[in-house]
Subunit: 209 residues, 2 copies
């Protein structure tokens, strides 16, 4: 099969509120198909116990981070609770060129920066099937948080999901349906690679014959 | 899984030059998955031996066809070699409402009419992997045509493929790769049903909770 158009990887932006199950879903995707690669973010926050540099995050200091922003080395970045988080550009570009489908697990604000800078990126929002499920998942985590925290997380989820219209795809991650959601993302990747808008190389070659 | 957004079927426009193998591909799709339904065209040309009314075409007379055009009962229509060909609107709409994915096997001119009238339609172009394969397929049909006819068919194929930019997806139907092409179309259908632009009902319901 002549697949020149399929060589370059896809840039996949995966977002979803806390409780959407996006973390587990991404883990499963990475296990199932080695065309996927996870983009490790950089952050200025201190590593938590068990977190490793270059695996969970690149842990760098504030001065370093700001220098990288100034040098346009970040594909996107945002500040939460006084710490920077961002996506190193060089690694992403190298992985895409090598044919990997690069997964960015980022919040809505960062996604909007990616959408502007890389219009070819595919934005996927992971959602629970309904708010009742989301609430049950947040309460069932057993991390002993107060009612106030639960309510704040639910409000944040509503704000995040209100940006759904800016995304390309919605993938519903229902109870015990994670494989379904994982395969749906795989189907989206295959379909996106067949989009005429990505097929320029192929068409040029075809008409040159 | 909450799938309100998946109830309505997709309108799939499948085009491809003579020699692309789109006929076999569509036949396979219909056999494999009963969510697909083939839209039978209407025509004013006389039935060929073995063709059945309502299966291959709806065979109607010229006066009837023109009355249907005047009454806006055709989703698209075109005239070839002095005969009308067109897609009856009512049947398509009923099948879509019933949740079927309706396949229209039509030429580029008709596809452009569908694209204008039904912007939610998904346009797929089936192509051979290259012109050499296309030529070999056209010559290998054993229908004893002259070199002139072969050349004319190749020229027509080039004109049709030059409209690729108006289509959403390109599916390459390589030698002995028909199952690959069939599954690619299935993946496109699943991905399209996850598009945020089709998910209005779901989102409305989500935010109403």
């Amino acid at each position: 099969m002549t697949m020149e158009n399929m060589k370059k990887g896809l840039l996949l932006v995966i977002s979803g509120p806390s409780g959407s199950g996006k973390g587990t879903l991404i883990k499963r995707l990475l296990e199932l198909d080695d065309s996927f690669i996870y983009s490790v973010s950089a952050t200025t926050r201190a590593p938590r116990i068990g977190e490793r540099n270059g695996v969970n995050y690149y842990f760098i200091d504030r001065e370093d981070f700001e220098a990288r922003i100034a040098d346009d080395m970040m594909l996107e970045h945002a500040e939460y609770c006084g710490n920077y988080y961002g996506t190193p550009k060089k690694e992403v570009n190298e992985n895409l060129a090598a044919g990997h489908n690069v997964i960015l697990e980022i919040e809505v604000a960062g996604s909007m920066q990616i959408k502007q800078k890389c219009p070819e990126a595919v934005l996927i929002m992971i959602t629970p099937p309904d708010f009742k499920t989301l609430e049950a998942r947040l309460r069932g985590r057993g991390d002993n948080v107060t009612e106030d925290v639960i309510r704040r997380r639910l409000e944040t989820a509503k704000v995040e999901l209100s940006k759904l219209g800016e995304y390309d795809y919605i993938v519903i991650n229902g109870e015990n349906m994670i494989d379904d959601a994982v395969h749906r993302i795989m189907d989206i990747v295959i379909a996106e690679k067949s989009r005429v808008s990505r097929a320029n190389e192929f068409t040029k070659k075809f008409f040159a014959e």
